[in-house]
């Protein structure tokens, strides 16, 4: 594996075929351990238990009131009908027991019931919304701080896009689905219970009819969902294919053009497009008619209720007869029964998405962090920069040892050049010094203190670091330079920039030090980015230095400036330089020669040449070809 493949990649690669494209609607993502994940989610919700219980209470109360509404209306309409038939004026309406009300009063009461029901419904959502947002907020904070606690080794096996997805998309998913799911569950279950109870109280026969039809509707819905899953999966897969193909073709547009590859590209595109069409038609159709079919069954239910209700009304049997207004009531109950059942079906899907997203988030949150710091850690008072490598063994994987028994001693202020062919493993030494990875055996000591006996933060604060991949963030130049140095004044920052040959171009920018860089600093040139990172290291003023000299994509003048700046940075500091310049190498006190991850030779320039080994071959190869 090369250095590049070990580094955190910036590619938004997703390995899953349908990870790259927009998800097909209603695509059901299954979590691997539903129960386990839901338990964890439950635990995460612990601080909100009171809100959840209150919300449940309001949901139940609201459902009860919602169920009473149609019944009261039914009583009113029944009395109206009866009065009409009996050609008598409207009298009092009997509720239960000895409660009788006049029409007007009962009407007011009913409106009151509706109002209270709506109000409670709103309150329960109100509470849940607050809860979900607080939950999402904590999750975001926990996740983002977790990122900086996970060992770099963790990221080797993950794709950038995947980790990013967990912290952003998955949290968004939970944000969107949690309120909805919880809210619906309480309401749906409560409503269903009350409606069914009420129906049975009013007329067991009609209740039976309604329930039978509802069950039918439910089974039909389930069949539809099952049937559509296959199509949705295909659709999601096609979308992934489409996205991949398009990403490639657009990014490689110029190459596709010049190699007259358009015809081949288009053929592939056409195939994918048509596949997508096929699966899209089927999946949209099936999901599109699921509700109408359920609606049809609902209507059928409506008709049966009307017909059978009518028959019951006409019946002389006191056990089964009903008031005419109750027909209207049952018609409304039919709707009230279907709704929660549809909800529950929907919730099942939504919960799956929530679970899938939560699972991925918990995986991340549960990953092992860098080993906790011990209590008895040492610090170094006056850092001199004496570094000793003793019998160091290391491998990124258990099976492949990359550094085998390395020994070296670097005196304070010395310059160490690290050289080797591309991909040889030069950044490994950097990774070990900074304890981005831990060595397998042996020791690295700084001023006599084993680096494992130091707090990581303390160890890292000993080194100023300038890497080949410049890292800048969206913010002012001032913020970017003072990143990592606390409480620096403007003049300190300017002094550091001057030292690093950076001040002059900053002055030429609109806003100078307040000029805002965009993501990755792409609004200034690569060379300028490099200079800013050098200024950052300059300002941080650490006792030792780790530098990567690679400046291959920078023009000569800027390169010269960078070289100057680096020289100044390295003065009187123990420096580890991944060297690309002959002058650096010739000047170095020690040269580590790396090949295939291993340190194959060490010494100074003349000494190594005399050895006539790998270094000498590497060095002389530059003169051939003339």
């Amino acid at each position: 594996m090369t250095d590049k493949q070990k580094n955190t990649s910036q590619r938004t690669q997703r390995n899953v075929p349908f990870g790259g494209g927009p998800r097909g609607m209603n695509y059901l993502e299954k979590s691997r351990d539903f129960k386990g994940t839901m338990k964890k989610l439950g635990a995460y919700l612990k601080p909100f238990y009171i809100q959840i219980i209150a919300s449940a209470f309001f949901a139940v109360a609201a459902s009860l009131l919602t169920v009473l509404g149609p019944w009261l209306l039914g009583l009113i309409t029944s009395e109206i009908s009866n009065a009409f038939i009996g050609t008598r004026p409207i009298g009092t309406i009997h509720l239960i027991g000895s409660l009788n009300f006049s029409l007007g009063t009962l009407a007011l009461i009913t409106i009151g019931v509706h109002f209270l029901g709506a109000f409670f419904n709103y309150i329960q959502a109100f509470l849940l919304i607050g809860m979900t947002q607080s939950l999402t907020y904590s999750m975001r904070r926990d996740l983002s701080s977790k990122l900086n606690k996970l060992p770099l080794k963790f990221y080797d096996d993950q794709s950038f896009g995947d980790v990013l997805g967990r912290v952003t998309n998955d949290v968004e998913t939970i944000n969107g689905t949690l309120t909805q799911s919880l809210s619906e569950i309480f309401r749906a279950v409560a409503l269903l219970t009350f409606v069914i109870t009420m129906m049975f109280i009013l007329s067991p026969i009609l209740a039976g009819v309604v329930l039978f039809m509802t069950l039918l509707s439910f089974l039909v819905a389930r069949q539809f969902v099952k049937l559509s899953q296959g199509y949705f999966r295909k659709q999601a897969y096609s979308y992934g294919e489409l996205n991949g193909h398009i990403e490639e073709t657009y990014s490689g547009h110029s190459v596709v053009k010049v190699f007259n590859h358009q015809a081949k590209s288009f053929t592939e595109f056409d195939r994918i497009n048509n596949d997508l069409y096929q699966s899209s038609v089927k999946s949209q159709f099936i999901s599109g008619i699921m509700f109408p079919v359920q609606f049809f069954i609902g209507n059928l239910s409506y008709i049966l209720v009307a017909a059978i209700g009518a028959l019951l009304y006409l019946s002389d049997n006191p056990l089964i007869t009903i008031q005419v207004g109750i027909i209207l009531t049952f018609i409304q109950y039919t709707r009230q029964v279907n709704q929660p059942i549809q909800s529950i079906g929907n919730i099942a899907n939504v919960l799956q998405s929530t679970a899938a997203a939560s699972e991925r988030i918990f995986e991340l949150l549960g990953a092992d962090e860098e080993t906790a710091e011990r209590e008895d850690l040492k610090t170094i008072a006056n850092v001199k920069g004496h570094v000793v490598f003793k019998d160091v063994h290391f491998g990124y994987n258990k099976d492949v040892k990359v550094i085998k028994g390395f020994n070296a001693e670097i005196k304070p202020g010395q310059k160490v050049a690290i050289v080797g062919p591309t991909g040889a493993g030069k950044t490994t030494l950097v990774n070990l010094l900074m304890r981005f990875y831990e060595i397998d055996s042996g020791s690295i000591k700084i001023d006599g203190v084993d680096i494992r006996d130091m707090k990581r933060a303390d160890l890292r604060s000993l080194f100023g670091m300038v890497l080949q991949d410049t890292w800048l963030f969206e913010g002012t130049i001032f913020e970017n330079i003072s990143y990592g140095s606390t409480n620096r004044q403007r003049d300190e920052v300017v002094a550091a920039a001057k030292s690093a040959q950076t001040h002059y171009f900053i002055e030429a920018l609109p806003g100078t030090y307040d000029f805002i860089l965009n993501e990755n600093g792409t609004n200034i040139s690569q060379g300028q980015r490099q200079l800013i990172t050098i200024s950052r290291a300059m300002l941080a003023d650490r006792p030792m230095l780790i530098l990567d000299e690679a400046t291959s994509s920078v023009d000569t003048r800027t390169e010269f400036l960078i070289q100057e700046a680096m020289q100044r940075l390295m003065q009187d500091r123990t420096s580890f330089v991944i060297a690309h310049r002959l002058s650096t190498i010739k000047d170095a006190d020690v040269i580590f020669v790396i090949n295939e991850g291993n340190i194959v030779e060490q010494g100074n320039h003349e000494g190594l040449l005399k050895q006539n080994g790998f270094y000498s071959k590497l060095y002389y190869s530059q003169f051939e070809g003339n």
Binding site: T8, Q10, R11, P22, L73, I80, S81, F84, G104, T110, I111, H114, F119, N121, Y122, F126, G130, Y137, R140, R141, S144, L164, T168, G244, I246, E247, Y250, H253, V258, F259, N260, K264, S265, F266, N273, Q284, F285, G288, P292, I303, A306, A307, Y313, V324, I327, I331, V419, P421, M434, M465, G484, Q526, R536, S553, D555, T556, H580, L582, Q622, G625
Partner: protein, 586 residues
């Protein structure tokens, strides 16, 4: 932007059928409450005209109702199928059109939109439109007809009472109006916050080492916290307000029913046996009232959908309506029988659109057939741009570029490409086998021998043959599963396999280590006799070129061999001096 509807044209028959079917379904649905009324007055005998209850009547009306809903569901299924087909077909056509349009784009258009935006427009935006279309095809007819129909039927039952309905609808619309006025402006801000959260997370992920080296974990946490907190507050606000919608709607519906019943009983129904507004009619009226309120609710949903759909539609039309800068001439000049590969630049000037200063000015030189010309200069000197002008990726502002005396503007683009072997600065590979990548062009020689020879020259053969699958090894999207150096070598092999007349190397050797660079150039010199143009940073890469052109701030400041330039060209001397004293070992 309404031009996007022209993509519906092929489906207009289907669309009309859908509209008719949906209208039919709406009307059928609206019949049910009236039939219920009939059942109650005629079947149950609750009517002022003395009618006896009749069980036969009940079943009769029930069977009519069943027939009605059966027709309705069949109609719905048929129209549903049509809707899916139309929406999917629309998306298919649109995608194809966008893809083909983008295929024609020159670099100016690609730069204008940015690759990631184009990807989103081709995938997300079209997908959004498809969903909206699917819904709109149905709703745009269904809901208005249901709403109007329900109102009409209500009025038919009892015109005065229907005024109550008007009041309810107005109340509903006011409520919705307030909710939308409060929340819709917030949507954009919410989106921006999501973008910001993504940005900060991406930055953190790409700078893991830096964060640890500088111990800025707290700072990073703070950055996220700011955005997350604001997002939380905004989300709570917006969601709590939109949460009012359904409860209030239900309240209005419920209250309307009661008020109608009360008013009917008090003022409209006569209880003395004389003909009047009947309970059956009241039942129907109540149902129509509720139906009306629901329909208005859905109608407003549609109005929310339309602007969103419009945003996607605009984005797509921007691509389709874009003027492509570079097109084939109407009467393209055919290539000569035997092309030699001589390139001439005459007074070429190039300015980027919206720039003040030219990137290149007055560039004139000739590259003789079969010779190697190198281009060197500092960053920003215009080297890459120069080489990009030869395949006509960009159109030059002044002057002309000719191959074998033929102005490239007069040749068909495909013909121009067939002459060129282009190797970009960053190795770009495509998912597929190594074979497919090397034999990427449409040239005639697609043989394995050709491929292997190309791989050998490009110093990639050893690596490939060390793999289990060798030339059938699968390259992942973007070439992610091979290193930068290997990608570069495959890119070079790809150009070699095409056997072009002219090679364009845009700083293609910088990702290679020195030894590979040297070997590769040696092999190229030995086996490839075509014209070569090399843009490079390293003097040693181009030292032996037949001709070196030195650029400085877009102007030619030197042209000649290495030795000549060392004697005459100041800029060249500067570059050479700074490099030869810091040659790269790694």
């Amino acid at each position: 932007m309404k031009n996007i509807f022209r993509f519906l044209k092929p489906y207009r028959v289907g669309v009309i059928i859908v509209f008719v079917l949906v209208a039919l379904r709406a009307v059928l649905d609206l019949l049910l409450p009236t039939l219920l009324n009939d059942m109650i007055s005629k079947g149950l005998g609750i009517s002022s005209t003395s009618v006896e209850p009749s069980i036969r009547m009940i079943w009769f009306i029930a069977s009519i109702m069943i027939a009605v809903i059966l027709i309705s569901i069949i109609v719905t299924i048929v129209s549903g199928y049509l809707e899916s087909k139309i929406a999917a077909g629309f998306a298919l056509d649109l995608r194809k059109a966008v893809y083909q349009k983008i295929e024609q784009f020159s670099m100016r258009e690609m730069d204008h939109f940015t690759t990631s935006s184009l990807i989103t427009r081709t995938t997300n935006d079209i997908q959004q439109l498809q969903s909206y279309l699917n819904m709109l095809l149905r709703m745009i007819i269904l809901q208005p007809i249901l709403a109007i129909g329900a109102i009409a039927f209500s009025i038919a039952q009892q015109p005065t009472l229907s005024l109550v309905l008007t009041a309810s609808v107005i109340a509903l619309l006011i409520m919705l109006g307030i909710i939308f006025a409060l929340t819709i402006p917030k949507f954009q801000i919410m989106q921006k916050l999501v973008d910001r959260l993504n940005l900060v997370t991406r930055e953190n992920l790409s700078g893991l080492r830096v964060v640890r080296a500088y111990n800025t974990q707290e700072y990073q946490a703070q950055r996220i916290d700011e955005a997350a907190l604001e997002s939380k507050k905004l989300n709570i606000f917006v969601n709590r307000i939109t949460g009012l919608m359904w409860p209030i709607m239900n309240l209005i519906m419920g209250a309307t029913g009661i008020i109608l019943a009360y008013l009917a009983a008090k003022y409209f129904i006569k209880f003395d046996g004389s003909p009047s507004f009947e309970p059956g009619e009241l039942f129907a009226l109540i149902q129509y009232a509720m139906r009306t309120i629901m329909s208005f609710m859905f109608l407003t949903m549609i109005f929310i959908m339309i602007p969103r759909a419009r945003v996607s539609a605009i984005r797509i039309m921007e691509v389709l309506d874009m003027d492509v800068e570079i097109e084939d001439p109407i009467d393209p000049v055919p290539l000569l029988e035997k092309m030699k590969g001589e390139i001439t630049f005459e007074n070429v000037t190039f300015i980027y659109p919206n720039a003040n200063a030219p990137v290149l000015s007055n560039i004139s030189f000739t590259v003789k057939a079969g010779k190697t010309t190198a281009i060197i200069g500092s960053t920003g000197s215009g080297k890459s741009t120069l080489i990009n002008l030869i395949p006509r990726f960009y159109e030059i502002t002044e002057g002309s570029i000719a191959i074998d005396g033929i102005d490239i503007k007069t040749i068909a683009q495909n013909d121009l490409y067939s002459l060129l072997g282009y190797v970009p600065q960053k190795g770009i590979l495509f998912s597929g086998t190594i074979r497919e990548n090397i034999l990427f062009s449409d040239s005639e020689d697609q043989s394995d021998e050709n491929m292997i020879k190309a791989a050998e020259i490009a110093q990639a053969k050893n690596f490939i043959e060390s793999l289990d699958d060798k030339y059938d090894y699968h390259i992942a999207q973007g070439g992610a599963n091979v290193s930068g150096g290997q990608r570069q070598r495959f890119s070079i092999a790809r150009a070699i396999a095409k056997n072009p007349l002219i090679y364009l190397f845009d700083d293609s050797f910088s990702a290679l280590d020195y030894e590979t660079d040297r070997n590769l150039r040696r092999m190229l010199n030995r086996h490839v006799t075509a014209t070569k143009i090399i843009v490079a940073q390293r003097i040693n890469t181009i030292r032996n070129a037949d001709q070196i052109i030195v650029l400085d701030h877009g102007k030619m400041v030197g042209i000649g061999t290495h030795d000549e330039l060392m004697n005459t060209c100041g800029v060249y001397q500067e570059i050479a001096k700074s490099q030869l004293s810091k040659e790269e070992l790694a």
